[in-house]
Each structure stands twice: as structure tokens, then as C-alpha cells.
Symmetry: D3
Subunit: 237 residues, 6 copies
């Protein structure tokens, strides 16, 4: 029934390749099916000014999409002279999600910038960016620990994200673009390795939804996140 | 226990005054406690170009906040030369929420722009903007119907929004600024008059949350929304 | 003969309500007929950098208009990404006018920002903004004096503004939009409480004008300003 | 008493050289003492869209200043990414002044753009721009008439501008920079060849002023404008 | 002597992998050592407006660099709100170079946009972008030919680019970043498959250079370009 | 054969008038035929921040063109809100060229900004800007030396620039606009007084070119530069 012939609760194949950008303190290329996102983590010695003398650090994210990552070419945001509302919304989400998994006091007064650039898009780019961004973050923090700059691990838990939705009347896991553009309800779930919730976003695209729908999508999300945590662990071995 | 001494499930007092802007096709001033938002609806004869010859209309929203709506003065966005990521995220949310309550085919190829300007802020401005914006929209659509321009009512149901959160370990309804800035989890619920869900946004600010927490906040939201729908009805009498 | 049936030398009814924005150090809502402007004064501890170590303070102003303050919706300047030439010209005028009534040395090295936001427009918004802005400024300065931060009153005199023009060949006082958009000559007068001049702007819109015309408009302006000073005093009681 | 040792009612020497830009339909270099402004008129076949099918034309102006026209270098506005409020205010003034001297119906549905670029500044640049801009406009219109494109002369009268002010307590004509930066009151008068008024702008810089002051400055302005009209005529011989 | 231990006339290893972006009409990932550039070609049905009704098409290019493509993170241009002068200069060069190898009349009234995004930078990114961009262009044109949309091949010849420079007093081929940042003279050569010149840019960085130096760098460039043409051919097999 | 009837190796008449801007530390108006560029040098006490505590200074340039310098009016860049790619490319070139002729250590930690504004354009504006900009720079440095602020002359040699091209199949010197817009190959050469090369830019506009062509254009450039150095010397007497 799904365009990809996947089961309702079947994720796309996930792969995470680390060390793909030689200059970055942490990096990976995450592929969720045909959605490919290049993630890097850059350590900066200074925290943002609003944290000066607080002893706390910061994690932030920026998101971009190559003009031809999609089916028709999108205007390059640098040429347009500004990031779209969608881009800003997504990068704020990524940053917020990753910060929720970090003890900012243990990180100390420094900043880690996560860049997530979509090389190819087929739905679920923000979720892939969070899952991959966490791996880049983990690698960069490992460097800080190894160098003795940070002594207590500031990473509290894994952070992963997956989209679910109601497609053709059925709850499905990990929407691809064909599904996403036709889904009645669209949801993004961000969870910790311990399956606690960090962020939930559900939105009716057309029909409204019920609490029962919410529960079913939530069930699928928990399933998917388990798989994503496993993929993160595998990549970091 | 709450800074305002309200019960956990107690909303702030709500008032909606209509007809406050003489030029607009629909307008109201909504007050949720000390949060005051001026909402107007402007009918435009043309739909956006991507809807040309589809027979469908559009509802969109813009959001702004007066520089001194808040405790310390914020830079005026027009002077800064751009809308912040937060502003864009909020106005996208308002537009999406209101569209979900509209039959865009019945509206016909025209656009209604909802402007929501926060005159005074004390938490929950995006929710007030949605609840008030719907009233402005309703009034503008009434004009279209009265004038015979639209024959079948394009408004499907009421749309209301309320924030809930976990404050000092307890689930509370309708956060004011004192609570919002200290809440562990912060959620916005957008519902229809029939208590169906249009959008749910839950976000851990600090600690992660559980499915049980989700359910409790959801319960409070349903309570609050009943009251908001009643306030909308009262304003429209 | 006037669209509003007013006498040639008759102002619109004026009301000034103070204390309308709970966060601002000073605020008022001024209504000149259907022109409604919300004015706030925000005290900032630092003067602009060009005044550093001069012992002098600054008063500046920003002006905005809600998109649907007018008969047809105007594009939101924050969304357009810049303030129009008209907006900048008006806010420069407001700031210059209010500064002319202030002893900047007595104010000390701090800045007061006056925000004037037009909620509803029916001609004469810049004049209403100046008259209302002065009230907000007066209230904020009162706070500084009461708190002992400023010891000698930096306010030299009232500052008020009124528009006049030649409409249908006759000099008229306090143009509303219907008159303003058809006036042959359009003038703005800014006066002190003592009827001294701070700024005069007269502009031929169509036909040129004579020194006799100037004198007649000046006479009307003096009349109107007496009334505006009285309204300011009443609001501050 | 004046820094330049001029009499109170003495203009700086004025020269207007025409035909200085080979590509423009009209051009001149106007020098008022050390203030040098290069003015060009460009005819465009289309009127702005708001005049479509009205049979009326438009005259507009743009103003700029070379970065080192002044004593210390100013940031180039093209590099800064926007025109300052001052620049916009001046170019709006120039356009308004020149339009007041044109029968836009006789001009027909076309636009003439006047560019005024200050090569060297010593006070009074906006007045020089208006006086010189009118010469460029006159030359361009002459071309239209000569070519038979326009049959009835759209130029109604000369337009000239001069600044006056109260310097060291005395009313003086044609302020240079040394005076302008110290004047108590600063005024710009725009007149027709027939000494009718097009625009008056008077502004207290420091002390307020009286109606008597207004009259004295007005007297000086009339004197100066006679001289400027003569200079325009001489340049056009 | 070279930091990479290469011979003076030795290129870095070159690889070009095609078909790496599923949505684009043509794409490749070109690697010149550690410089990796992702190139795509997007066919648009319309030529730019200045070519309307000329029967000619257009090829243009945009260039970007991921923030962490370099040793220290660069600010994202989309976030900064504009493309740097360097970026604009490079993308103008790429477009000009590729257009020089195209018969724009044979292409017909359509546009091909080449996007070159640097995933990892180690010197010579603009040259890699040209060499790789040509492959993407070739693939897109092949599609047009195969579909019968274009009947006569608009591609005139291969276009390749290589940098040379004087490093430590010696002429060297294909500068990497370590060399580029210390080179006395830096040159970029763009050649056709037939070793004709399309563009030469030589710049003294420090010491000036002589005609003899020019000749030596030119010799190296011809050598390198032969190798690059071979790599293009290999990729297209 | 040339539109201007010049010999193939004949420059346009060159004149350089110094001291044309009274406020600038150095200035000249350079005319190469109908191409007129006003150049000024402004000394700033501070070097850019990236040179702080290095003991080295900086020379930079900005370039602009009056809207009606050309045959049809160009949009004013300040009004457009940004400098075009072409403008940025040219001003980067001017700055780079002039810096190549300066001992930045001898200059000390200060900056000289060269502004080059094209009053009238007829081809070759960037070359005229470099040749004239150097004269302005020379004059400003003379002031520094005279004032004892700089003790060892930081100017290493003259810097001049000339364009050459292949027009109607023939190599010609100093292209004017009529030639430039039809040239098959277009080149800019920047040389020192000692005929050493600082920058070479050759670009095929249409047909590609050969090494023989390069040599011929180079020969012409050397000829032209001798004449330009003589003109600089004459202007500085």
C-alpha cells in the first residue's frame, strides 16, 4: 500500500558513515533511504555572549539544502539573501533537540555548531539531520574528552528523530516524500535513547486528528527510534 | 503555588472585543490576562499565484510584537530589516492552524490575511493570536457571505489554541510569562470546536517528558479549549 | 463644507489615555478622531555611542503602522525587510521634535526611546505621534525624577503638533484623511507649550502657495496647539 | 561675522555648467561655493505602474554623495546595503519639488529620473540638487519638445531652492557647512520663478523660533531665489 | 619540496563520479585530492528574460561552500544574508567559462544552471568546479539530445581548469591549500579540450612576475589540462 | 578600422587632474577619452582588525558608477540594496592591484581607502580606476611622509592598468565601449612602472584564443603602460 512497498511500521534502510569531512571535529553522512544529509560538528572556543561567565556552553545548529537536492531546483538561499522561514524553523528545532541531550555545564563555556546540509532529499530531512547531527556532536565531544578539555561527559543520552503520519488512512512510520506530500497528519518525534520525549510536533494537513491517532503514531515512533539508536551505536563503534 | 495563584487547571480571564479596527473586514482585541493581541482580517481579491485557476482560496497570517510589548524593549523587526526565526515560526503556525479550519474551495480564489499584533505580552501570545485570529476570520467570512460573494460557509469549525506545561513538577493550564520562562515542558495545543486536534507542539525545556505527561497536558488543553470556544461564541453574538 | 462637517478651525475630538502598556516606563493611547496611536517610552541606561562621556542623553523615536491601520492593507515593513522612506522620515521628525523640548544635559547619559505605533489611521498620524509621544516621554521622565536618578527636570516645555492645509481653497485645521488626500497645500506645525515654533513643514501638493497662505495656516496651528497642550495636561493629572 | 566673511544676505558664488555628461538627456554641474553637485536627467519611456493608462507622467529623483565628498569619509551606501534615512528624505524632497513645477499631463506617460550626486559638500547640498536638477530636467524636456514627442511644454515655471538660518543670532542666507553645523534654526525654501512657495521646511536646532524669525528668513530666501533663477537662465542660454 | 611531496608538474589524483544526485539532469562529485565538489546541472525551460525571442539559451552557475568545508568554520552565506564578493566572482567565472564552450543557439531558448557546492576544500575549488561542472552540463545536454529536444549538439568542446603558481620560487602545477596560501604568484587557466585558452587569471601575491614566469605556468597548465580532459572522458564512458 | 579611427596600438588621450576634491588626502580626475573616473584617497588611523598588532597597514578600494554614466541608466546600487557582482569584482581587483605596489610594513598600521567613482563610462573603467587610484594613493602617502608620520616611502613603484583585446580579428590597445562590447577576447593588464606584471586577466568572449594572441596583447599592454606611467608622472609634477 505504501508507494515504497514498505510495511506500515517499516523504516527505510539507515546508514551512517562517520569521518567524512576531514576538517570537522565530528562529521557523518546519514542516509535514510534517498534522503542524504551531511552533518558536521565544529567546536568554537567561545560560548555565545549571553552565556559569558555562566560556566555553561551551547550547542546550536544550521540547516541548508543544496539547490538541486529536490525534484525541481530551489533558489539558493545565499543568493536569495535570506533563509526561508522553513529553514529557520528546522534549524531552531535541531539545535533545541540536541541541546536537550547535553549537560551544558559539563560542556563548559564553549560552543559546538552542528551544520546539517541536505545533499539529496526524499522526505524526513529534519529528522535525519537530528539523528546524524547527534553523531557528529558525539564525535566532537569525544575529541574534547580525549584531549582532557572536558572531564565529565556532557552528553546525557542519544537523541534521535523520526517522522510518522497518517497516509491513506493508516498510521505509517518514516514518511518518504511521496507519502509526506499526501499525508493527512504529519508528525515528528524526537526521543532520547531511553525513549523519553524531547519534542513532539503533530500537524493536521487536511483532516484533524484524534488522541487515538496520536497514540498510534507515538507507538510507531518508539519503534523507529530504537532502530535509529542502534544505527548510531553501530556508526560509533 | 502558581505565581498568579491560579488553580492548576484555571485559565486566565479571557475577553474578546470585536470591531476594534474600522478599516478591517474583521477585527478583534483578545486579552488573555495581560496578553493583549490585536487581530485583523483583510480580504484580498486574488489568491496567491500558486493557486491560480484551482478554484481554491488561501488563509495566511502575519505576526508582530510592538517593541515595548515586553518587559525590556525588543528591537523593532522593521528596523532590524528582517523578521526573526521565532516570528516566522509563529506566523507560519497561525496560518496553518486557521487554514485547517477552512474549506478552501468554498472560500473561492481569494485570500484572507490575518494580522496578529501583540500590544502587550505575558506568555501565550501565539495561542491568543490563533484564538483571536479565528474570530477576525469568522467576521470577514460573514461579510463575504452577507454580500453573496461566498455562498457556502467555508468555515468548518472553531479553531482555538492554548498552552500547557509542567511547572514546578505539576501540569498547569495556560502558562503566563512567569511560568513559561521556568517550565520544564512547554506545549501548545490547537483544537477545533469539536475537540479534534489540529496541531500539537510539545517541547522539553530542560528535562525530557513521558507519554503520561503528554496525556495530562492534553487533558488540560481540552478543558481550556472548551472555555475558549465559549469566549469566541460570546464575542460573536 | 468639510467632509466631517467640522468648522474650518475645528479640531477632531482628542483623547489621551495613559498607562496603557504595563511594561513601558511611560505610555499612552492618543486618539485624534479615528487616528489612534499607541505611544510608549522606554528608558535605556546607555546613551548612543556618539555621546559617550559627554554627560548628555538622547531621545529618539521609532514609528510603525499596523498593516491594516489603513483602508487597504499595507505590506508589513518587517516582512518587506525595510522601513519605507516615509516611515524613516516620520520617525526622524518625531525624534527631532521631542529632543527640541528636552535639556539633554539634565537628562544625563541615558536614552529614551519613543515608540509610536499607529493602530488606526485617518490622517495626521505623525502629529498624533508627536503629541502622544511627548506624554509618554513626560511620564518616563517623571519616573526618573521620582526615583532620584534625575534631579533637575530635563523637560523644557510641552511639545505638540498639528496639521493644517488648504482644502477646497480654504485653510482648515487638523486634516483628516479625506481632506489630506485632496489638500492643495499640506502643513505640519510643531510648537512648544509657549507657542514657540520647533518645526514647520509646508508642501504644495499641486498648486504653489503664498506667504499669506502660510500666515493663515500658522494662525490655525496656534489655535489647535493650545487645545493639544490642554489635552496633554488633562491626561497627566 | 560669517566664517566666509559674506554679508548676511549674500549668496555664495553660483555656477551651472550644462552638458557635462554625454549620455544623459540633460545634465549640469552646479557649484554653490564649495558644494558641487552633478545632476542628470534620464528619460524613460514608461511611467511608473500606478500611472498606467492615466495619461500622466512622473518626475522622480535619486540623491547620493560620494564617500569622500565630506571632511571625513562616509560609508558608501551601496556597500552598507541601504540608503540612509537622510538620503531618502532628501531624494523624496527633490522629486516632490520638481514635480510641483511640472504639468504631468503635458509630459505624457513617461518618466524623467533626476540623479543628483554630490561630488563635494559644503552645506546646502539638497538645495543645490534641486536648483541643478531643474536645469537637467529643463534640458531633457527641451529634447522631448524638439523631437516632437511632447507638444505642449510641461514645465510650468523655474524651481529653485535655498537654505537660510539663524547663525550667531542673525538671519543669514545660503548657509555653508561651518554655519549649518552651528545654526540655531535651519530652513530650506523651495520657490518658483514667480516667487510662489513650493515647500518650506524650518527646524529648530537647539532654540525654538518665532513667527518673526520665519518672516526674516523668508525675506532672505526670496532674495536668494531671484539670484538662482537668474543663474538657471544664464546656464540655459 | 612541495608539502605534498608531489613533483613540480604533478597533479593531485583526480576522480569524477557521475550520477550522484538522483533528481538532477546531470551530476558528479569531483575530487582533486582533498578538494571535493558536488556539481549538478538543472535544465530550465525558460531562458533569462534578456534572451527572449532570440533563439539562444544560457548557461549559468552558482557556487557555494559548506561552512565546515575548510579548516575553520566559515559563516554560512545564507545566514549572513549575502554571497561574498569572492563567491560571486567565482560563480561568474564558472558560468562564463562553461558558456564559452557552448553554442547557445544550438541549445535553444532554455537555461542550464550549474550548481557547484564544495563539500571539502583544499585549494583549487573554482578549478574543480569548472571541470566537474562541465561533466554535469555534458550529462544534462545528453538528456536533451536523447529526448530529441535538442537536435544539434550545443557542446563545442571540453572545458577544464587548473591552477598553477610560483611556490618557493618554483613553478608548480595544481596548488593545494598549503601551497596556495604561500604562493608568490597564483594563476588559473581555463582551456578547451583542444588546448585553446578560454580564460587566464594571473595575480601577484606579494612579488610581481615576468613574462617568462607566465610562459612557465602556461606550460604546466597545458600539461594538467590534458589529464583533466582524460578524467572527464573516463567519467563519461 | 577602429570605430574611433585610432591606430591598433594607439591609446585614447589620457589626462589626470589632481587636487579635485578638497576634503580628500589625495584625489584626481582621470580621463581616458570619454571614460572619466574621480578617484580619492582617504587615510584612516586604524588598520582593519585582522592586522591588529602586526605593524602592517592596508590599502583597499571601493568602486561605483553614477547611474547615468552609461548610455542607458543603470539602477543605483544604494537603492538596489547591494553592490553587483561586477562591482565587487572590480573593487577587489583595484585594491589587490594597488596593494601589490605598497610595502605595507612601511605604511604602518593604518588604512588608505581608494574610492573610484565613474562619472562617465566609455569602456576601460577598471583600468582607469587603477591608474587614477594610484595617483590619489601617491598624493595621500606624500602627505603622510611630509607630516613625518611615515618615514620610509611605502610606495614601491607605479601601478598602471590597460585593457587590450582582439577586435575584428586584430589585437588592439585600450578598448573603448564600442570595441569592448564586440571584442572576441578581452584582457586587462596591470603592470608596475618597471613593466613587471601584477595581474593579467584574459577572457574569451565568444572565440577561444591562443598563446600567440596572448603574446600580442601583452606587447600592446607594455606599450600602453609606458604611456600611462608618463601621464602619472606628469600629473604629479
Amino acid at each position: 500500500m505504501r508507494p515504497s512497498a514498505r510495511h506500515l511500521d517499516q523504516m527505510r534502510s539507515v546508514s551512517i558513515e562517520t569521518g567524512v569531512m576531514k576538517h570537522a571535529e565530528g562529521s557523518c553522512l546519514i542516509k535514510m533511504g534517498d534522503t542524504h544529509v551531511l552533518c558536521s560538528a565544529s567546536i568554537e572556543d567561545k560560548a555565545p555572549s549571553f552565556l559569558k561567565n555562566t560556566g555553561q556552553g551551547w550547542v546550536t545548529a544550521e540547516y541548508g539544502m543544496l539547490p538541486r537536492a529536490t525534484n525541481t531546483r530551489n533558489r539558493r538561499e545565499a543568493a536569495a539573501g535570506k533563509q526561508s522561514g522553513r529553514t529557520q524553523e528546522i534549524q531552531r528545532l535541531i539545535g533545541r533537540a540536541l541541546r536537550a541531550g547535553v549537560d551544558r555545564r559539563a560542556l563548559g563555556e564553549r560552543q559546538i555548531v552542528i551544520d546539517c546540509d541536505v545533499l539529496q532529499a526524499d522526505g524526513g530531512t529534519r529528522c535525519a539531520a537530528i539523528t546524524g547531527g547527534w553523531v557528529a556532536l558525539r564525535l566532537a565531544v569525544n575529541k574534547l574528552i580525549k584531549a582532557g578539555i572536558v572531564t565529565s561527559d556532557p552528553i546525557l543520552d542519544h537523541v534521535v528523530a523520526v517522522s510518522c503520519g497518517i497516509y491513506a488512512g493508516q498510521p505509517v512510520l518514516d514518511l518518504d516524500y511521496a507519502e509526506d506530500s499526501n499525508a493527512g497528519t504529519d508528525a515528528n518525534f524526537i526521543l532520547t535513547g531511553g525513549a523519553r520525549l524531547i519534542e513532539v510536533q503533530m500537524s493536521a494537513e487536511g483532516a484533524s486528528f484524534s488522541r487515538v491517532d496520536m497514540g498510534q503514531l507515538m507507538d510507531l515512533a518508539e519503534l523507529g527510534c530504537t532502530e535509529l539508536v542502534a544505527a548510531q551505536k553501530l556508526a560509533l563503534v
